[in-house]
């Protein structure tokens, strides 16, 4: 787990409410209310999806919901922009393969 704990301008990181998410089958802690992407980076997960044709790993680019490079499959819904979607306790997140598949 790595976070920016200390900062002269922002002050010490306030203790948040911990929630748990499952990423590709692995349980990980997250801070309630933060974007999924932020929780992933804190847990060292850098790949969000696998490209459509060449099947290469891809990650976020803009971080503010405009470029769609960070999409993952969240609770069965593919193409969820993880940089602007807040985590929820018990969320199931999967590295998306290509355009993903709708489940259920």
């Amino acid at each position: 787990m790595s976070r920016i704990e200390h900062h002269v301008i922002l002050g010490d990181l306030e203790p948040g409410t911990q929630v748990w998410i499952t990423v590709d089958g692995k349980k990980m802690p997250a801070r309630a209310g933060e974007p999924i992407l932020s929780a992933l980076l804190a847990n060292g997960v850098k790949v969000q999806n696998i490209s459509i044709k060449k099947h290469e790993p891809r990650g976020y680019f803009c971080g503010i919901g405009r470029c769609t490079n960070c999409v993952m499959t969240v609770n069965g819904d593919p193409n969820v922009r993880t940089c602007v979607t807040p985590v929820e306790d018990g969320m199931v997140i999967e590295t998306q393969d290509g355009l993903g598949k709708w489940e259920g």
Binding site: S2, R3, I4, H6, H7, V8, I9, L10, L13, E34, P35, L37, S38, L41, A42, K46, V47, Q48, S51, E56, P57, R58, G59, Y60, F61, C62, G63, I64, G65, R66, C67, C83, V84, P86
Partner: protein, 375 residues
């Protein structure tokens, strides 16, 4: 569910919020919508002290300016709908379609629309730019300053405009290392005081250099470095000057493009504004576009910085309130003149004069367009 409102403001960043504040202050019924879960746009990642005169909040950190605007919005009782995307002008060009939480549709019928939709970061294509770890400088700022997670241990920044320089400084403040700043031009793009701050913190600056490639790790799940090289006077890389720089993140800070999809759907006329970010909606001194009652403000009307966005938002807010008959022409003229005085001041000096010229050009073309429409 449908909704009627006097003024709809799209975007709760510095321009949108200040537009809403001005219009609401004059008694207009204002609704602000924003796609994000928090208002403030990109202000809350600006943790540095702003430049300008004391009137433009100089010396105040962006994040605190954001809080001031939010307090004001709350005091005035302006309705702000968050997690709400204004995704189109539907149906029959009559309303603005909103998606609440990305899935529930709603049509707003405003009498005036102020589009403060901001801008998107420009990507820069080079071999390896699609690898995880090659990210926008604004994304870095969001991660380290808002979400407080590191983007990497050692970051190479591409682009030496104020964004590239400021984000490099903020990376250092977050505890990361900055491997260098690469700039293709022979001179820096941003303020010397910003570059001096990172130089005295040991960051090398490679002017006259370009990035040739991002070097992937073994399974291409990230990067191990970048290759940069000197460029000649035609910006072509010079063979033999290549250098490898180890880094696990590359930040791209090569400018922004106005987010004009919504104005385009409203059929406003565009103009090429060159340095302000290619196509922008043509607008007059009141920030009104070629569509009567549709205004633009902030980066969507040409990329500048937060202080000018705030001033432009004010102009649009005053003008919209005036056209609704909320204030007299004389009162509006006086208020707008004050804002213009501020704007003119912000657009001076070697860095601001070009922006002033580009804005003048937009306004002049708009005047020509108006004349043609009457003819």
């Amino acid at each position: 569910m449908n909704k009627e409102v006097e003024i709809l403001v799209v975007g709760a960043g510095p321009a949108g919020l200040s537009a809403a504040i001005e219009a609401a202050r004059y008694g207009a019924d204002v609704l602000v919508v924003d796609e994000n879960s928090k208002p403030g746009g990109q202000l809350f990642k600006q943790i540095h002290k702003f430049f300008g005169s004391r009137r433009h909040h100089a010396g105040v950190r962006g994040v605190d300016i954001g809080n001031e605007l939010l307090d004001e919005v709350e005091k005035l009782g302006v309705e702000v709908m968050l997690n709400t995307v204004a995704y189109g002008i539907y149906p029959n060009d009559e309303g603005v379609a909103l998606a609440v939480d990305g899935e529930t549709g709603m049509i707003v019928h405003p009498q005036k629309i102020i589009m403060a939709t901001g801008a998107s970061e420009n990507p820069l294509a080079f071999p390896g730019w699609t690898l995880p770890g090659v990210v926008g400088a604004g994304a870095i700022q969001t991660m380290i300053n808002v979400n407080r997670v590191p983007v990497g241990e050692r970051v190479l920044m591409i682009g030496s405009g104020n964004v590239g320089l400021i984000v490099s400084y903020q990376l250092l403040q977050s505890g990361a290392e900055v491997a260098g700043i690469v700039e293709a031009a022979p001179q820096l793009g941003g303020y010397g005081v910003h570059s001096a701050k990172v130089r005295r913190a040991g960051v090398p600056i490679f002017t006259g250099h370009t990035v040739l490639e991002a070097v992937p790790n073994e399974d291409k799940s990230g990067i191990v470095g970048a290759v940069i090289a000197e460029v000649d006077d035609k910006f072509q890389p010079v063979k033999g000057t290549e250098q490898f720089i180890a880094c696990d993140c590359i930040g791209i800070a090569v400018g922004l493009t106005p987010d004009i999809a919504l104005p385009a759907m409203a059929h406003v006329e565009f103009i090429n504004a060159g340095r302000l970010g290619s196509q922008v909606p043509m607008h007059d001194r009141d920030m009104m576009t070629t569509q009567d009652g549709i205004y633009v403000a902030g980066d969507a009307s040409g990329v500048e910085e937060a202080s000018s966005a705030i001033e432009e938002g004010k102009l649009a807010g005053i003008a919209a309130a005036q056209s609704l008959g909320k204030i007299s022409e004389a009162e509006a003229a006086e208020a707008k003149a004050k804002v213009w005085e501020s704007l003119n001041q912000l657009r001076t000096g070697p860095f601001g004069a070009g922006r002033a010229q580009a804005k003048e050009q937009i306004i002049r073309q708009m005047e020509d367009w108006k004349v043609k429409q009457h003819a």
